[in-house]
Symmetry: C2
Subunit: 358 residues, 2 copies
C-alpha cells in the first residue's frame, strides 16, 4: 500500500478513508487559503463556520433528518453521554428503560444509577455472555426513553433492526455502527456516537437530539452538561474540538460524495462482513462468537482452535501487514473491526491470509 500503510482492523480509533487523510495532510499548513493550519483558525471565523455547518448539513441529508433534530458536536466521547442522558432527561424522579447487550450498555446503566436515577433494565443477554441481541422486549409505558447500544464492539453483536418501543423514544449509543446503514431516525429521541470508529478521529462525539427531548430539561444543571447549551449555540458555547470536527466533516463528505450515501455504504458493508463470515463458517478452524442472527457487520469476532494458535495468528497477521486483529483484552480471541473506511480490498486480503494461515 501507499506510504507503507498497513491494513488497519483497529476497533477504535480506527482506519480513516485514505483520501480524507491526504486532504488533511495537503492543506495542513494553509487551510483553504487562510494562511493558517486548520488547527490555528478561530472557531469564530467564517472558515470554521463553513466546516461545522457543512458537517451538520451532510449529517441531516445522509440520515434524512427533519428540522426538529439538532446535530451537536460534544466532547468526552460516548462515556460522557452515559452521564448526560439521565442527567438531562430523568429529572424530578422520572424513569427510563435500558437494554443490556454488553460492556458499553453496562457502563451506560452504571452512570445512570450513580446519579440515583430509577432506571429499569428491561432485557439483557448477560445469561449467554452477551452473544445475542434480546427479542420481544416489554418496555414500560412510563419510561422517558428506551436506551440501547446498537452495535457491541467487544462481543461482536448488532441490532439487525431496532425494537418496537410502543412509542417511547429510542436513545441509542451508535458509536460503532453510526452511518454504516440506513435507518428511520424519527423513532429516536437521541442518537450519539463517538467519532473514532465510523466518522472521524477520537475527540468528538456526535449527538443528534430531537426538540421534544430538549424540552424535558427543567432542573438547573451545569452549562457544559446541558444539551440546550449546545443546541442553542451550534455547538459553540465554548471552543469546540475544531480539528476533530473538521475531520468528521471530510469523512461525511466522502460518505456523501465518494461512497454515494448510506444505502451504498450499507450494501458495501454487508458484502465486506459477508466475505469474512463465509470464511469463518466454511471451516471448523475459525469459529464465530456471536449467534448468527445477532452478528455485527462492524466487528467480526472469532476464535481459533486454541489460544496458542490465536497468538500465532495475530503475530503472523502483523508480519503480513494486518493490524488490530487482537480481540478486546476483556474477552480475548480475534476481532476484525471493519468500519466504513475499511476497503473491500482490505477484506479480500484478510480473507486470503485467513485461508493461507488455516
Amino acid at each position: 500500500m501507499k506510504e507503507n500503510r498497513i491494513y488497519n482492523f483497529n476497533a477504535g480509533p480506527a482506519a480513516l478513508p485514505l483520501s480524507v487523510l491526504e486532504e488533511i495532510k495537503d492543506s495542513f499548513l494553509n487551510y483553504a487559503g487562510s494562511g493558517m493550519s486548520v488547527t490555528e483558525v478561530s472557531h469564530r471565523s467564517k472558515w470554521f463556520d463553513d466546516i461545522i455547518n457543512d458537517a451538520v448539513t451532510r449529517t441531516k441529508r445522509l440520515l434524512n433528518l427533519g428540522d426538529n433534530f439538532h446535530v451537536l458536536f460534544l466532547q468526552g466521547g460516548a462515556s460522557m453521554q452515559f452521564c448526560m442522558i439521565p442527567m438531562n432527561f430523568l429529572q424530578n424522579g422520572k424513569t427510563a428503560d435500558y437494554v443490556n447487550t454488553g460492556t458499553w450498555s453496562t457502563k451506560a446503566i452504571k452512570e445512570a444509577r450513580i446519579q440515583d436515577k430509577p432506571i429499569k433494565v428491561v432485557a439483557s443477554s448477560e445469561d449467554k455472555n452477551f452473544s445475542y441481541i434480546p427479542k420481544n422486549i416489554q418496555f414500560n409505558s412510563d419510561a422517558v426513553y428506551a436506551h440501547i447500544t446498537s452495535n457491541n464492539t467487544i462481543k461482536g453483536t448488532q441490532w439487525a433492526s431496532f425494537p418496537d418501543t410502543n412509542g417511547i423514544p429510542l436513545i441509542a449509543d451508535m458509536s460503532s455502527d453510526f452511518m454504516s446503514r440506513s435507518f428511520d431516525a424519527d423513532r429516536f429521541g437521541l442518537i450519539y456516537a463517538g467519532a473514532q470508529k465510523n466518522i472521524g478521529p477520537a475527540g468528538v462525539c456526535m449527538v443528534i437530539v430531537r426538540d421534544d427531548m430538549l424540552e424535558l430539561v427543567k432542573e438547573t444543571i451545569p452549562s457544559m452538561l446541558n444539551y440546550n447549551t449546545f443546541a442553542g449555540k451550534n455547538s459553540m458555547f465554548n471552543t469546540p474540538p475544531c480539528f476533530a470536527v473538521y475531520a468528521v466533516q471530510l469523512v461525511l463528505k466522502w460518505l456523501d460524495e465518494t461512497v454515494g450515501g448510506l444505502d451504498k455504504m450499507e450494501e458495501l458493508n454487508a458484502k465486506k462482513a459477508g466475505l469474512l463470515y463465509e470464511t469463518i463458517d466454511s471451516s471448523d478452524f475459525y469459529r464465530g462468537t456471536a449467534e448468527s442472527d445477532s452478528r455485527s457487520k462492524m466487528n467480526v469476532t472469532f476464535r481459533l482452535p486454541n489460544e496458542e494458535m490465536e497468538k500465532k495468528f495475530i503475530q503472523k497477521a502483523i508480519e503480513n501487514g494486518f493490524g488490530g486483529l487482537k480481540g478486546h483484552r476483556s474477552v480475548g480471541g480475534c476481532r476484525a473491526s471493519i468500519y466504513n473506511a475499511t476497503s473491500l480490498e482490505a477484506i479480500e486480503a484478510l480473507v486470503d491470509f485467513m485461508k493461507t494461515f488455516k
Copy 2:
C-alpha cells in the same frame, strides 16, 4: 512566509510552532513507522503510550512538579473544569474563595453557584471594567481552595505574581498563559489549561492535580466528572482526544528542546510584549486598556482614537498579512494575542505595521 502563511494573532485557537505543524504534516499518513496515521492508532498501543507518557514527563520537567502531582488530559475545555472543580472538591457543604477578574472568572463562579455550592467572591475588579488585578486580598480560612484566572484574554490583564492565600491551595485557570513563564507549582492544588492558546490545538484540557486534592472527593459522582477516574488510568479511562494530545506532546517537546525551557520562554515573551507596549505607549494614537501593573504579556489589548479608525486598522492589517487583531466581540477594540508560538519576527513585523499605520 512559507506556504503563504500569515502572522497569526488569534486569541485561541491560536498559532502553533511551524516546526510542530510540519512534523504533524510529514508523518500524517504513517506515524512512527506504524503504517497508520496518528489519528488511526489505537490509544491502547505502544505508539500512543509513548506519546502521552512523553507529554506527562515533559510537563513535569518543565514545571518542576513533584511526584504528588498528576498530569491529566481531559475533554470539554476549561469550561468543563468550571463545573468539575466545585463538584469534586466542594462536597458536604464545603466552601471556596473566588477572585473575579473578568469574563472567564465570572463563568467559573457561575458554574459553582449553579451547583448550589456556597462559594465566596473575595475580590473583583469589576468596578473598573476588569482593567486591573486586585491586590491585598483576604482569603477565608475555611476555603478549600482559592480560584483565580491567571491571565484574562479579553481584558488583557495578568497576575504578575500569585496572591498569598495563607496556605489555602490555589486553583488557577491558566488557559491563556500556561507554560509561558516559570512559577512555583507547589502552592497549587490544581492547575488547568485549555490547550488551544499556548500548548496545542483545541480539544484537550490539561489538568494538573495534587494528591491531597484527590482525597477530598468522597461523594459518588459520575465517572467522567471525577478526577480520580482519570488520575487512576493515566487519562485513559475512555478514549482520549488522541490527536490533540499528540499535538500537545510535540509543542511541549518544542518548548523543552528548541526554546530551552520556561525561563527562556518567559524571557522571550517579556521581550515580545515589551516591544508592543512600547509602541503603544510611545504615542497618543494607540492606548492600552489595562492598568500598567496588570498588563498581560499574552494578550495586548489597545484602542485607537475611534472605532472607525480601529475598523480600518484591522482591515489594513489583514491586507498586510496580520490576522486575529480584532478585540473580543464583547469589548471591541484591538487585541494582539502573542502566545508562546508567536515569533519575535511576527511581533517586529506588527510593530512596523503599527508605526506605518499611525
